[in-house]
Symmetry: C2
Subunit: 195 residues, 2 copies
Amino acid sequence: MARKTGSHSEITGPRVREAALTLFARHGFAAVSMRQIAREVGVQAGALYLYTKDKQSLLFDLMRTHMDELLAAWADEPKGQNALEALEAFSRFHIRFHLERPDAVFIAYMELRNLTDENFAAIEALRRQYEGELESILRAGQEAGELDISDIRLSSMAIIAMLTGVNTWYREGGRLSREAVADRYWDMVRGAVGA
Amino acid sequence: MARKTGSHSEITGPRVREAALTLFARHGFAAVSMRQIAREVGVQAGALYLYTKDKQSLLFDLMRTHMDELLAAWADEPKGQNALEALEAFSRFHIRFHLERPDAVFIAYMELRNLTDENFAAIEALRRQYEGELESILRAGQEAGELDISDIRLSSMAIIAMLTGVNTWYREGGRLSREAVADRYWDMVRGAVGA
DNA sequence: TTGGTAACTGAACAATCGTTCATATCCAAG
DNA sequence: CTTGGATATGAACGATTGTTCAGTTACCAA
């Protein structure tokens, strides 16, 4: 047996990435076999290689796509009139974007060590670029006297860690809505930068 | 051939755990084989089973030991005279303790999904206990009017995520000493709780 | 109706996995 | 000097791993 009905290439490709995303997030890259992914898609393991060069490329594609989308989405986001408004925009954007794709976020943070050196460098560069966006806001706010920050790099890392941490405990349908969570985190971020 | 010289049990046991700790942190639990651990220790794979029931128990032991040490160390820590001082003590303690054992921290956060359900529940309970320590401080501070917090659980998670984040970027011999880092993070924590 | 090709199967490859076990060696105690 | 337990080897187990590939099918265009 082979192809059952119709042209499947444009359907199977995305389904492979979806299955890999879910399974990698749930069990970890190293613990998931190509056969498990294939079973999830409803296909034999060999067919996966029509859509990815190898397992490593599958992981890298997921991570690079995630980072590209992150940077593109932030670029499209309205930044407000000053540094404080930009920081609020960043905080709310970060929480919203990350809560919308918990699996991709999980993978992007947990599977860095399973990338080859070359692929790791590429993802790391994108991450630094995103961190740079926040650093720019903090620097502008400091120069304008809007914020009180003793170390920009350090504050940037602290804020990102705090905001990303939402993903570890937030559950849909829980006690607080996403907006309520974002409100409270923005309060804390503002306090942390002395504004 | 078997044992070369002397009694090794009290030496090999810890060495197995050390090797597992390092390798699990570097490559991930699922990506490390028992043979790799054995090679690091300088022993054949079969000998590992004199010191651990199986691979899963090895992981669980590392994580439970880490959590036990964390809780014991915090219990021994001076807490100050009021909630604000206790929060400062907690912040500085958390950074110090975590920076001293980056491998164990990494494993405790990354390998939860590789635990059996039973083992996961045990580790999770210890983690909740630690989070409860911080929540108690925040609640006391709120009741005493020392702190301005809108949601204790949420603030607790935010603070812990922020503090633990230090481990992702701090490098020994870098721009800032541990004390300088702790000073700045304490400033941010204090701002985040409105004090 | 035919031919070509995209999509897929199913078997096969060598390598590696966690774990067990019979065997060997060493040390301390009787 | 003998014995027994602790410590380790090294081979073996079946299962599974990522990946390749020759063959098979289903569809579309001519």
